[in-house]
């Protein structure tokens, strides 16, 4: 469901910087359905990838075979990302807070972590430079705190300071796609507010998975369930072993 909703956020022909996991699944779903000309760029340097199998890692050989271009990582980050050529960045996060700040570094204190997470990868530069960033994460009090334990990637406001004041070129996280609904960054406050609900989900269920007093858009959208095509492509073509869809 999250993958299908995320895929719908991508328009045909857009240039997407793809992260691994659900973002990767969503991008390939979009390419297989409504956005055949989606331009997939992986931080590994594969440009215009047309993977014959769902890549398990963002460095999978299937991303290279038959791609349009393979460049070094210095070019991927400098000529494409920092140079403003990426329209959509796609990130996950262990923690997402009220202003869309993301944490993939540590749970607890950095110096003495409760849980040590993998770390930054390319997330900070994607959140800073992509023209807009989409976030996918499953709702839970633990995953959506008022404030993340560590800011790995900047959201709409950092300690009250806006992206503009910080000099961040991209629009940052504009939507957070969860397993119950979609949050959007409020244009004024930069706060993540509830914008749309999945079928049969109540506002209270979303609030229950969020660690702050969640505001709602005046008019809440209703999200269409995955179409037959979307489900078929996901289950039969992209992820037959249920590598991601189990999760």
């Amino acid at each position: 469901m999250m993958a299908a909703v995320a895929a719908r956020e991508l328009s045909d022909g857009e240039v997407v910087f793809v992260g691994i996991g659900l973002p990767n699944l969503a991008c390939n779903l979009a390419r297989a359905t409504h956005a055949p000309h989606l331009m997939l760029i992986y931080e590994s340097g594969a440009v215009g990838a047309v993977p014959e199998r769902l890549p398990v890692s963002i460095g999978d050989p299937a991303l290279v075979t038959g791609s349009l271009m393979v460049c070094g990582m210095a070019d991927a980050f400098q000529l494409f990302l920092q140079n403003g050529k990426i329209e959509v960045g796609f990130l996950g996060g262990a923690q997402v807070d009220r202003y869309g700040n993301l944490n993939t570094t540590v749970i607890g204190r950095y110096e003495r972590p409760k849980v040590r997470l993998p770390g930054s990868g390319g997330a900070p530069e994607i959140a800073i430079h992509a023209r807009r960033t989409l976030v996918v994460a499953k709702l839970s009090q633990r995953a959506f705190p008022e404030r993340v334990d560590f800011i790995t990637s900047p959201g709409q406001r950092v300690n009250g300071v806006s992206r503009k004041q910080l000099g961040l070129p991209g629009a940052g996280p504009v939507k957070v796609i969860t397993d119950k609904g979609v949050l959007e960054a409020d244009e004024q406050s930069g706060e993540m507010v509830l914008a749309a609900l999945y079928p049969g989900v109540e506002v209270s269920e979303v609030q229950a998975g969020v660690g702050w007093d969640l505001k709602c858009r005046a008019r809440l959208g209703r999200i269409e369930p995955p179409s037959g095509t979307e489900l078929r492509v996901l289950r039969e073509v992209l992820d037959p072993q249920g590598l991601y869809l189990k999760a």
Partner: protein, 297 residues
Amino acid sequence: MSMKGAVARYVHDGDTVVIEGFTHLICFAAGHEIIRQGRRELTLCRLTPDLIYDQMIAAGCARRLVFSWAGNPGVGSLHAFRRAVEGQGNPALEIEEYSHFGMVARFSAGAAGLPFWPLRDYAGTDLPRVNPRIRTVTCPYTGEALATVPALNPDVTIVHAQRADAAGNTHMWGLVGVQKEAAFASRHVIVVVEELVDESVIRSDPNRTIIPAMIVDAVVVEPWGAHPSYAQGYYDRDNDFYVAWEGVSREADTLRRYLDEFVYGVSDRAAYMARQPGLGPRLKAKQRYSSGVNYGF
């Protein structure tokens, strides 16, 4: 030169060591030989420590880790790394952390003979707070502040590639990551290849050369040396191994048993492959040849 000889000669206790390769062409063969020779107090640098550094950390080779993403790609955690960082390791592992772009920039500066590299990054993140080596510089034209990272110049960089000639002129294709920069930034360079080719093969396609012999100290021929990572055109990534590592590495003693059998228990990569006869047939690459281009005049 043999892997044994190359590691003995160019990797010393306390060195800053780089085994690069982004998912592709990670030289596990070199890492295993460093473990066998019992190197200690190493500063290990890589964007993605991956299973190879997880194994080297478990084996006690590392004093310090410089990195940007320490996970098991597409699977989960690096457990030896986590044990060390979460304080169950003994002694605790020192860490120095950047983003991918920051690590790439550190190698770029080192390779260019510059003391630093500027990048537009880190504003609004907590990384500079925990890593004082991430600083800023003021643009002499716009007056804006840009982030900087310091040059990284390793003692030795080990690069795995598809083919090279005897002198070390190296062809690499598919994902090339940051290997060129890491090699040019390094005091010593060991090139490990799937295939040794005649100089004429290199000279037939000079635009394919990523690393020139003049910066290479040793050439080691080690087929399958990148398993369980992969070599485009030679063998596929062993995803089953990466998935299985979760179970192997979750407990220190199962990890230790793995090292005993597949690292300490074998003398070299040939023996490693001989112990797993199924690997070759399962992972061997199909043929998808590029068309040649004309270099004539």
